[in-house]
């Protein structure tokens, strides 16, 4: 393996991990508030299709990304209304949201299949981007990748060091206690759900506007589900989400690179690595009751009844 190849692998690792990182950050914040939203895939697809159509019609990538985020938020609000106001089962509602988003995005986007747009290009800083090994990885990405770094830092600070982050965790651990001391359970959960939707919309937009600038039905191809697995893999720790997303990115890139180099590693084996890693982490987490209680938010998946 030469230096160029390593440079390119590291570059692709970050790029591939970015949509996963963005969705997983959103889902992590959402789950921290005690809400399990399995609708990532549906929200991502809506973000992808809306972002693509807006950019195609307006020519503005910025507008495309903004409306992709708004589409994600609106989708998450559907989930929010059903699970919060009607106290519906979160798992069923989330699955329904994915099915709904998949169908609706296909319906909206049917006239836009096969139309190309100018996607978001990576930036190039002379001097820095040329650096061997880390040059392209750190200084040759597109703007959304840098935004994901900022989002990560912000989420890390928010969850671990801020007071609203403490409120979020309190609501997720024990909403009744939080309610009793006057914390706004509903408001916190709504905001967390909306943040999850915004991140899914952004990641969807990233896929259709930067990663592969095109729209095709079901183009997320399961990335929303990988992000859900990532949150578990990270055992609900923000720092580990970053690590996990990039590791997943690396695994999926290596699986392709090795084949090109002619290594006789089964591509099937390499393809299941991310899922295998998640299962292993789940096994480790659940091997010990006390440990598993420590990591997942206690009220995850349970609806909250204000009067109950």
């Amino acid at each position: 393996m030469d230096i160029d190849l390593i440079t390119n692998i590291l570059y692709a690792m970050i790029r591939t991990g970015t949509p996963l990182l963005i969705v997983a950050l959103g889902e992590l914040i959402c789950e921290k508030s005690g809400v399990l939203n399995l609708g990532q895939e549906g929200m991502m697809l809506m973000g992808a299709v809306i972002g693509f159509i807006v950019t195609l019609l307006s020519g503005s990538l910025l507008l495309g990304f903004m409306l992709a985020i708004i589409a994600g938020v609106l989708m998450s609000l559907i989930f929010g209304l059903i699970t919060m106001e009607l106290s519906a089962n979160q798992v069923a509602t989330g699955l329904a949201l994915t099915i709904f988003g998949t169908g609706l995005s296909a319906f909206i986007g049917s006239d836009y299949v096969g139309k190309p747009i100018e996607g978001l290009d990576p930036i190039f800083i002379s001097g820095l981007t040329d650096l061997p090994i880390i040059g392209r990885m750190l200084f040759g990405q597109d703007l959304v990748v840098y935004l994901s770094f900022i989002l990560f830092a912000a989420a890390y600070w928010f969850v671990n060091y801020s007071r609203p982050g403490l409120v979020l965790k309190a609501v997720g651990e024990n909403p009744h206690a939080a309610n009793a001391i006057g914390l706004p359970v509903f408001k916190t959960r709504y905001l967390a759900i909306m943040f999850g939707g915004a991140m899914a919309g952004l990641a969807g937009g990233y896929l259709s506007l930067a990663y592969t600038p095109l729209w095709a039905e079901n183009m997320t191809a399961g990335r929303g589900w990988i992000a859900l697995a990532l949150v578990v893999f990270a055992s609900w720790k923000v720092g580990r989400v970053l690590l996990g997303a990039w590791l997943f990115g690396l695994a999926s890139i290596l699986h392709l690179v090795f084949q090109g180099l002619g290594f006789s590693v089964s591509p099937n084996l390499l393809a299941i690595l991310p899922y295998l890693a998640t299962v292993v982490v789940l096994v480790i987490l659940s091997s010990n009751q006390a440990r598993s209680r420590l990591v997942a938010p206690m009220s995850l998946g349970n609806p909250f009844y204000a009067k109950g």
């Binding site: 160029d4 190849l5 390119n8 692998i9 692709a12 591939t16 949509p19 296909a106 986007g109 049917s110 299949v113 096969g114 139309k115 190309p116 996607g119 896929l207 990663y211 592969t212 600038p213 095109l214 095709a216 039905e217 079901n218 183009m219 191809a221 399961g222 990335r223 999926s252 890139i253 392709l256 690179v257 084949q259 090109g260 180099l261 002619g262 006789s264 089964s266 591509p267 099937n268 393809a271």
Partner: protein
Amino acid sequence: MKRRQFNKLVTGLAAGVCLTALSSLSVQAAEPLKVGFVYVGPIGDHGWSYQHDQGRLSAEAVYGDKIKTTYVENVAEGADAQRVIYNLAKTGHDLIFTTSFGFMNPTLKVAKQFPKVAFEHATGYKMAKNVGTYISTTFEGRYVAGYVASQVTKSNKIGYIASFPIPEVIRDINAVQLALNKYNPDAELKVIWVNSWFDPGKEADAANAMMDQGVDVILQHTDSPAAMQAAERRGAYAVGQASDMSSFGPNAHLLSVVDEWGPHYINTIKAVMDGTWKPKANVEGMKEGAIVIPSFNESIPADVVAHAKELIAGIKDGSVYPFAGPIKNKAGELIVPEGTRLSYEDLEKMNWYVEGVQSDIPQ
């Protein structure tokens, strides 16, 4: 509205529908031929199902109001397919096309119940009294693409994004390798399996991984135009699959190997209208207009385009056949002796690489 009233209304409506249906039966001669299509994917995939739907539309364009077409997209292979096909047959469709391998048994089961309806199943191998099959020989187009790739590559590294190791895909990889063996034995074919028919992100990643390793021409047996876009961004060449992908890479697009189902649908519909339709195993390629290469990139040298067109003409008149002997397998054993040809039945079961392919077939 009370429940009883509601029931009455429904019954009334149903009776009305029945009456309309009866009255339409009496004037059946003037009725259009009803043709049903069952697709495995969304018509928005810009690939397999999209091309079948384009075929349906071109048949509509030819016959106008003499036919009435119905399509059902996103039909899962298995029990669901049987229900969809049954419904089409039940609602008076005279001819039904089922367009995915996994619809084979459901089609046969429904066909037994509707002996007067004509069925045609794409890519399958089982037939019945009223079930024919049709398939197109994509390897002809891939052979031509392999030739063009062998001439335009500067790095002598050609990439192939493959979906699943099934005979159809292995056969087409072999067709490309045979073209390389013949026209540029120094060129190396790198195959990357992505284990998916459709995952734009992964296809783009595979294309990028190949270009990182010096590949400058990319072929694919997956359905999204993502690899074409990736090649366009980095100044490489790519070959489009199933549909014309030139709009995704005006500079990168060497050519597309396009499935044209229109001619088959038009001919079959005519045969059913005339009452001459009989179930057949239709294998159609460039000769029948089922495999088309609509355009060549202007940057391809004129003599290469000219020879590619000669190849196409040769394939059409039968003088060129990609799988004509001598063909050796990867280990160097002579499998197809000089003077013989692999038959279509052999190609349908192909599970070995020809000499020259670098990697192994994933197990």
